[in-house]
Assembly symmetry: C2
Homo-oligomer: 407 residues x 2
């Protein structure tokens, strides 16, 4: 059995990603389908948004100066000169002493600079009584309040989300330069591993569901994933899997068998295509990880243990993908803090990511750490996320608040 | 303008959902594509998982009793009787005084009941020196440790996730009874609203991106959504949109125009098809919400304000969909706690959901509330989630920890 000769810490791994220096091509995609892509350059507004001077309430467009000193007992009377239709710019100008009826979202007429809410007025035939003083611009949105021309809507390195895309579409931006997505291949290995679809499992065999879970969680972040199949623990077979497809993919994820031999074989084969940057990472779980860098390619040998495999997707593979695809913020970030409800002990020197189940009790949410020898797949199925404890700590106490990462 | 005659609180809304009593058909779907479906009955394991007595380490299978009292200075000598191949059940039996070489994940031979780690041994030709005492079952996983026969893998009312599906597939369960997904239609309304794809926006017009965002966030939870188009603020036109498609959908989401007239028209049209259960909900944002229930159909008039529209997807539409589709846990749940970095004030009597941007500072994460008159679409694009303040409070102070919901 080979030693884990070159292990690194989690923070060293994050630094390594910063300096991997792998390039991605720029492509243009339609904004509508650009979710999860990383923006390749700053995108500026080409239209003002909302685009016209709008009311945020139902009421009357006025000049704010005309309302000064108005109260219910000493109202100001303004002449009602018209009603503004939705979706049109008014074709009249508002002068001193005048008001125009307007709905939420309507365009203010030229000359108007504020809107008085309907409940602060009383309409009386051709006149409107004003019961309140307004400030300049009150109850309105400026024509470029969301975006002025040349405002940056999304910046280089931003990961596109539906809500960022909404902003692009609002400004009439239908195409966007992004970095090309990776082509990702998954290979499972292990003499004990069989296709999960077989009807009879056979003795001593394990259905390969790690590759399913890896693929699904990569699809969640918009990746295209191709499953190449299951290789026996054989140097020749694994090599032939990689060799056949070497030009078709950028990232190869080798989902490990659990035996000692399997890891050696993976290291051997990956050495033919890449420089092994590390073999073993000082994290829990996920230690027996193999990372090789070739010419514009990366090979990751993932642990075979289901929990390690699953957690490594978040801790190892997501940051790799996001950094490679150009995201300026590629590190995993917690989705909030949660208190743990029992002690967690760990080894000093290993960044730890512990599966937990979030639950509510008396109106508060807690994280219940799931560990022990009690099952593997079942723990994953039960977990809602994981908490993190930094490498230099010996553990964390019940009641302590930790970074929580929801799946 | 019609009054908001029948408004309800957020907790009343959650109660209303519990009692809506809308049924969904059961269907059978392939497990692989069952993500986001709600399980229609308890699903029990039909195979034991992992299925055989496995080692969790690389080492030697032994009888634990044979190791008692072993230390490096007083080792026990066991006879090496063979090596266990991965993916096969050993064809030999282990007797007192014997050991068999085994890899992580390998099957223990009959007679063995524990595994000693390689580093606690020394192999010497036909013998293995044992340097440590083991407990019964140490470094092993029982054949039904993940799932015993008839263990419930997923329960009625569980929402399926990729990790729960992994557990099903591990046990060889390829089909699963679930509740049928809703057929959802989205209609945009408003005289000022135009298709976001038009090249020239026109004066006083607003590109309709709310319907885009609504649809995308429903697709995230696995829903199929059909956009029916944009209706003018006209009773006849909106009615014809609904009428044409009334039999094709279960849930109609009417994305509101912002004018006073628009809401009245929506209420009018929905009254033709449903009983208006409430008109106005005491939440911020999202107050002008209309909720109508017909025969096995629901009609929701969503606010036109982009932030209200967006937040209502999470606070109103997600719980409706999950409860209707049979989820036992349909209420939205925070993804953790975050401290806010400035005060938030609010009206008593309204459950408030305030957009925030999560950020890191000196190794801690905070939520920066995004409010004020400063833009709408741009706030959504900047936000990472929202925090929640309960209805009876007047606000929350900077530094306070709140429930945080990440998008």
């Amino acid at each position: 059995m080979k030693e884990f000769l070159k292990t690194i810490s989690y923070s060293e791994y994050e630094k390594l990603l910063e300096n991997l220096n792998l390039k991605r091509e720029r492509i243009i995609v339609r904004s509508e389908i650009s979710a999860n892509f990383v923006v390749a350059e700053n995108i500026k507004a080409t239209e003002e948004v909302p685009g016209f001077f709008r009311s945020t309430v139902d009421g009357y467009a006025v000049k704010y100066e005309n309302t000064q000193g108005s109260t219910p007992s000493v109202p100001t009377m303004l002449k009602l000169i018209g009603e503004i239709k939705m979706g049109e710019l008014p074709d009249f100008r508002l002068n001193d002493g005048e008001a125009a009826k307007i709905s939420t979202g309507g365009a203010l007429p030229e000359g108007a600079d504020a809107v008085i809410m309907q409940e602060d007025t009383e309409e009386m035939g051709e006149w409107v009584e004003i019961y309140k003083s307004l400030g300049f611009g009150e109850n309105t949105v400026k024509k470029d309040e969301d975006y002025a021309l040349d405002d940056i809507i999304v910046g280089k390195g931003d990961v596109l989300s539906a809500s960022k895309i909404q902003a692009l579409l609002s400004s009439g931006i239908y195409e966007i330069p992004v970095f090309k997505k990776l082509r990702i291949a998954v290979i499972s290995t292990g003499d004990e591993i069989i296709d999960y679809k077989v009807s009879k499992r056979g003795k001593g065999k394990i259905r390969d569901t790690n590759s399913y879970l890896i693929s699904e969680y990569l699809r969640k972040i918009g990746e295209e994933v191709t499953f190449l199949g299951i290789s026996k623990d054989s140097r020749e077979e694994l090599k032939s899997f990689v060799e056949k497809s070497i030009n078709d993919f950028d990232l190869f994820l080798i989902s490990g068998g659990s035996s000692m031999g399997a890891r050696d074989i993976t290291v051997d084969v990956l050495s033919d295509y890449s420089e092994i940057l590390f073999h073993g990472i000082r994290v829990y779980p996920g230690k027996p990880l193999i990372f090789g860098k070739g010419d514009d390619k990366v090979f990751v040998g993932l642990p075979g243990h289901p929990v390690s495999s699953f957690v490594s997707i978040f801790t190892i593979v997501y940051p790799l993908i996001f950094s490679w695809e150009g995201a300026k913020d590629f590190k995993i970030k917690p989705s909030g803090y949660l208190k743990i409800d029992k002690n967690i002990s760990k080894k000093v020197g290993r960044e730890s990511f512990v599966l937990v189940k979030k639950y509510e009790k008396n109106g508060e949410f807690f994280a219940n750490p799931l560990f022990g020898e009690s099952g593997l797949i079942s723990l994953i199925a039960e977990a809602s996320g994981f908490v993190r404890i930094s490498e230099n700590r010996e553990g964390a106490y019940a009641g302590e608040e930790l970074w929580y990462y929801e799946f």
